[in-house]
Amino acid sequence: MTLLLGYAIKSSIVLMVALFGVALLRRRSAASRHALLFAGIVAAATVPLLAIVVPARTIPMPAQVPEFLPPDPAAATPPATTEPYYEVSASPVDEVDEMVAIPQTAHPTDAQAGTFSLDRSQLLLWAWISGVALLVAHLLAGVAQLVVVSRRARVLTEGAWVEIAEEISRRYGLTSRIRLLETSQAVLATWGVFRPKLLVPDGASSWPAERIRIVLHHELAHVRRYDWLVQMFAEALRAFYWFNPLCWVACEKLVQESEQACDDIALSCGIAGTDYAQQLLALTIALKHPKTTLSAAISMARPSTLERRFNALLNPGENRRSVSATSLAVTMAAALTVAGSIASLRLVAEPLLMTLPQPAAPMVPEALHALTSALMTFMPQVPLQSQVPAVPANASAPAGAGSIEGTVVKSGTTEQIPGATVSLQRIPGPGAAVTPPTLIQSGTDGKFAFSNLAPGSYRLVALRADGFVVAEHGQQTFNGRGRPVPLLDGQRLTNVSLAMMPTGSIFGRVFDRDGDPLGRAQVQALQATYREGRRILKIIQSVQTNDVGEYRLFWLPPGPYYITARPEDPRRRNVPLYVAYPGTGGVFEQAAPPVLTHRVLENGTVSEESFVLVYYPGTTEFPSAAPIDLRPGDSLGGINFSVGAGQVQTRHVRGRAIDANGQPLTGNVLAVSRTPHPNATIPSATLGGDGRFDIGGVVPGSYYILAGNPPAIVPIEVGGLDLENVAVVSRPGVELNGRIVIEGKPAIDTDPDVARLQANCPGAATVRCLPIRLNLVAEPALLGFPQEVPAGMPGMAQPGGGIPNGVVLADGMFTFRNLSVREHRLAFTGLPPDWYVRSARLGSLDVISSLVSFPAATTDRLEVVIGTSGGRIEGRVVNATGQPVASATAVLVPEAPNRSRRDFYRSAVTDDAGVFRFQGIAPGDYKVFAWEEIEVSSWLDPAIVRPHESRGKAVRIQAGTRENVEAVVIPAER
């Protein structure tokens, strides 16, 4: 039960992050908010799992199962009061409201629990189970009701509904045909996944075509987006976490956003907002007093969401973009990472933001940034301190409280910056509520002062939108890591300096092949960065040229930039501008199908052409691109170039996609470039009935052809000719068995030390498991195809149920089912702090030092040997004069032959005394490097480590030894 509560708290945090994220994205499209919410819900659902999968990084593992905090009493309150939309009477939500009331009565009060303290956990368990049972019953009843209503309904086989549905289905690219059912009730609802059904009210067959079109645009958008499935999943999760109001809020919000996203799709198909709004209103009035409500269906005209949707419908500035598979995958991965980091938290001792260690998971810093910025979006609702005498930084501040005073200056100078917004936020202690930050403006002399502060750690940030990067206290460089300001009871901190780095701009003109100015060209500033040890490009800003070809990129932090341009995509109604505030954000990936033109040549033949990205000074090849080094405050003009080189003739790739039995595959086939780029162009085609495909618009280069699920992946090279007869054969997933051996513990299921680690398996309550999880990460990571995640991802249920992939049973056995036949990287999570992976072998193959390519069928077992007495390093980072360096990054790099062992790398951030710690180090030779400033995971790139090789401090680790190391910091380049 405590475990359940722990999961509840963690999933709450995940949901809260998602909900905050949604608040943060209020100017983004409903589709992206929906995607984020869904990702959040999926992530929340996987928390119990991730809690075991993700290791508890730098915090020593407690000897006993940690005691989780009791739930917030507020968590037991029914959510009806948190959602103002519930106020609308006689709406379909009413039934849900009643359901909310039930758990409240079934939930034991604290007083009851106190009286029967011995049975408290059992009581809670029963309360929970009955709640789940009730809600699941309600959900099933809802689905059953849908089935009954659908059976009784009249199938529409001809007329306007059918014709318009076909037309829109084609437009949306739907493969399954929707069943149109005219019911005898006043309902308008969509449900079903493989055979979607649309229930329309009595008399709908004689509606005006205009309304039918609008309704179908909307409802088929639901079908295309799989909204019903998503909603059912969310409802199921809500049943599981019924006591958590956040789940209810998230579910409701999900409905709202999906409705709005579908409205957006309908509008982007050319329906005028005013028409749409009028029809929606008419529908709502018509359907207001339904005889029955179908709780398990998605209903278009819900009065409770109308107001917001009207505003969104009629606002031409509303962002109506839909979400690509890629960004959905990215969102999902990010949400899982956040969930993973939260799941790994032991909810004891230290404050939330500080317990998250730096580089354990490469995406954590970004996730953390997203989290903090999401938390701080509430800022606009917080009045400025100058207007409110009571400082909300901490209401319970004792008398004689402390203060923080300082100055905002221009980086590298003493020039004061007036009018900067300075934000001070207390980092909450464990279990403490997050307090909103206090904001003040720096004075004309750049000075700021916060008074009446409680002791604690504070995050201090300065912002000014017109040409300065966000600055945080404790940063070594402008994009470096900040450190909290510690404040003792009654302490008066003065002369705190916040140095802001001025941004620069790059401007110029873009011309076409003929030397004429190119209007509406997309111009981007790209910057190189690291992601999971791989060097990639990231989009920092995306703007557009005007009719005279001029562009201006601004708010750019100093650094090298690559400037790219390409003609606009004429299919777009909205231009993809991306202007983030200085020093924040950036886009990792965006993908689009190619824009094809059929150019008539002078000799009368037709050439298929497309435009590829052109880098300044006018090349399509990245290696020939000239980076532009932007110094602080620079304004670099005359960056003019032509996109002429980007006009290339494209080729076709034709072939056939079949499964192992020779049956044709269905669905789509993609050609994904083997060179990753943030602006991917993905040619695709729909597989014909015989599995044949013809992908047009392929620019010569290296690609993977992907089809089927799990995807069959065929590498191809496209040169100067069309590629014919490409055979794509999808093979069924492979099963791989394996065993973990723990050094010195031959019978691991009975060994007392190991047995102590056992816990119930996810997915099988009666089976005991070890906390160790194996993960086979598919390589390369392909756009739109998420990497395989080890265990029971929702929607990727284990065939036949059972223990999820990669979960290690008490006796050390584990299994992977349905692995795709491609290369994988083996990774481990959940290892106790002093343990490490000695070896992993598949037959005679070493599969941990390099990628492992699984054959179509293997009888070999994956044998993993775990060492239990890893070495420890406690070290200090000093500068050239021997002074300790705080906030430096210490990195442990294995020496040959283990350089490729990603699991042997360790990194940590030094504390105020310059101290860092590593543990669980496999015996061997290492070097410790210390960087004042380094991008997370970039040390996995040999090119980064090589120039500093001689500055690494060599250290030899033997089993169970403890070493002390003093490393001299590699200063940041300024």
């Binding site: 006689a90 004689s206 917001r308 009629l314 031409p316 939108a465 017109d466 505030y581």
Partner: protein, 588 residues
């Protein structure tokens, strides 16, 4: 077989396959007959989803498409700095004509005329003269909706770090420019702008340039001062007014680049409206929604606010001075008030809502008994005048005996319409108010099709007692006992004719006495031979007008029509008559 006979055979085979047709043409500038080089000409086969064929013009503006299958095509031309053109267009931005290509046909000298586009540029500055970064700048144009002049968004752009913007590829014409800080764009309240989708398929110049993806400020940072009771952000129109009625018009000629259209943004001191929604007994009504529209203004905007759920009170912030209609809807109760907002906040507003009264009536058909054939095929609706967004449209279906009953009619002014006779005029896009079908009665079936005899029928009269409410409108006060008498006649007139041989001219039929009768206003485009035809015209006197270039729906606006009063052709349409008007002169 000789070589020439092989060639002949190939030629014949190609002709049979219809693959050897071709189109040759030339792109020229509007006022100068010289050819335009490097224009991208796009040829799209109608009804085909394939990517269009693309060709570029040579130095003298010539282009050619060969090996074409027979069919209907549309041909458009694009070049930076020019308004996109289409073959057969009368004016930039107006519809073009399809090209019909027979098998093997060699079309020559097909002309496309293009007009240079115009641009507006300037800077958006703060009160203190600092550049406003990322401000949204909008180019707006007058259009007509339901006879009302409204400003419609044509294009929007964002400012750079210097506060500079440029709106471009604009079709020559009259524009208004307004701006608002990006982060202050109204989403949860304030002014909602109404942008309509562009009419022409490739009309890039009228496309809305909108940001698709923007990041919020880090850490919730607002670049402008936070909103407060003292300040609210509304779009500021050039040269510096929050009131669109006093905005300056910017006249753009072809090829013009108007610079220095600078706007200083400043928040306005907003008024606040506070009040309560009450029922007939004066008790607060909870859960209502309030629609706020500006009356008598070119602004086509409205907002919605929620009424406080428990005590029925509401507070609307950020209201700029002007005349407003507040409409409250709570379930089946509704009510509206109009109010003038001047210099001060308005407190203590009371919007009474009530379930409307019922109104009964009877429909008769001239010369025949109303019978089962039309049962359920007719519906009488009371369309609020003026029609504001959100207003319910009370309606009742006509039964077998011709009787109907309309429930929930609130006091106010209405136009009586009878479906399906009084629907939108042919050019419906600009008159959305008319095109909107009424809200169906709860549980009531939709209208089955009319019997053929009544397909061309029209509403001859509607009377309430002795009052002609068809032409004068219906004024409903609190209690009125009289019944509506509707007469349908089935012998309408017909008007046809030509405007010489000018295709794509807009011909409008306007009632000579400018009545508030949307069904009497009709418009069509002339066909390729310059002919037009109106069917189902109710008898009466009409003015027939034709324009080269006119905003759709403008003829429903009395002010617009005034200068054209005596330039049209007067036609008197009798029952079952046919009027033919030849050589109707086309106005500019």
């Amino acid at each position: 077989m000789s070589t020439s006979s092989v060639a002949l055979l190939v030629f014949l085979l190609q002709a049979v396959a219809g693959q050897n047709a071709s189109i040759q043409g030339r792109v020229t500038a509007a006022e100068a007959p010289n050819g335009l080089a490097r224009v991208t000409v796009e040829l799209r086969r109608i009804g085909e989803a394939d990517a269009p064929l693309i060709s570029s013009t040579t130095e003298d503006g010539r282009f050619v498409f060969t090996n074409l299958p027979a069919g209907q095509y549309r041909m458009t031309a694009r070049r930076n700095g020019l308004v996109p053109g289409e073959y057969g267009q009368r004016n930039p931005g107006s519809p073009g004509l399809p090209i019909t290509l027979a098998a093997g046909q060699q079309l020559r000298d097909v002309p496309i005329v293009m007009t240079p586009s115009a641009a507006i540029s300037g800077r958006i500055l703060s009160r203190t003269g600092k550049p406003v970064v990322n401000a949204e700048v909008m180019a707006m144009k007058v259009s007509f909706q339901d006879g009302r002049r409204v400003l419609t968004l044509v294009q929007s752009a964002r400012t750079n770090d210097l506060g500079e913007y440029r709106l471009y590829w604009l079709t020559p014409g009259k524009y208004y420019v307004s701006s608002i800080p990006w982060d202050e764009r109204p989403i949860g309240g304030g002014v909602v702008l109404n942008a309509s989708a562009p009419a022409a398929p490739v009309d890039i110049a009228r496309m809305t340039v909108l940001a698709g993806d923007t990041a919020r400020a880090p850490l919730g940072f607002q670049p402008t001062a936070p909103p407060s009771d003292l300040e609210a952000w509304v779009p500021i129109y050039f040269p510096g007014t929050a009131n669109e009625d006093s905005a300056s018009v910017i006249e753009l000629e072809a090829g013009a680049s108007v610079r220095g259209i600078d706007v200083n943004l400043a928040p306005v001191r907003p008024r606040r409206l506070r009040g309560t929604v009450v029922d007939a007994q004066g008790q607060p009504v909870s859960g209502a929604q309030i629609f706020r529209s500006r009356t008598a203004s070119t602004s086509n905007t409205f907002t919605q606010e929620m009424v406080h759920p428990s005590d029925g009170t509401f507070e609307i912030r950020g209201v700029i001075p002007g005349s407003y209609t507040l409409l409250a809807i709570s379930g089946d109760r509704a009510g509206k008030i109009t109010l003038d907002v001047s210099e001060t906040d308005v407190e203590g507003i009371r919007i009474p809502v009530a379930v409307g009264s019922a109104m009964s009536g009877r429909v008769s058909i001239e010369g025949q008994a109303i019978g089962n054939a039309v049962t359920g095929s007719l519906r009488v609706s009371l369309r609020p005048d003026p029609l504001l967004p959100g207003l319910p449209i009370p309606a009742g279906n006509v039964g077998a005996d011709g009787a109907f009953m309309i429930g929930q009619v609130m006091p106010g002014n209405y136009l009586v319409t009878v479906q399906p006779f009084q629907l939108a005029p042919p050019v419906a896009t600009a008159q959305r108010g008319n095109a909107m079908p009424p809200a169906p009665q709860r549980g009531g079936p939709a209208l089955p099709p009319l019997p053929p005899a009544l397909q061309n029928a029209y509403v001859k009269s509607v009377r309430l007692g002795a009052v002609d409410v068809l032409n004068n409108g219906l004024s409903v006060d609190a209690q009125s006992g009289a019944a509506l008498e509707v007469v349908i006649a089935s012998n309408p007139g017909r008007v046809d004719g030509d405007v010489g041989r000018l295709p794509n001219a807009t011909v409008a039929l306007v009632p000579a006495a400018r009545m508030r009768r949307p069904d009497l206003y009709k418009s069509v485009l002339t066909d390729a031979e310059g002919r037009f035809e109106f069917q189902g015209v109710p008898p009466g006197e009409y003015l027939l007008l034709a324009w080269n270039n006119v905003e759709p729906g403008a003829w429903m606006n009395a002010d617009f029509l005034k200068p054209y009063e005596d330039r049209g052709r007067l036609v008197r349409v009798g029952e079952g008559s046919r009027q033919t008007v030849t050589q109707l002169s086309v106005l500019d």
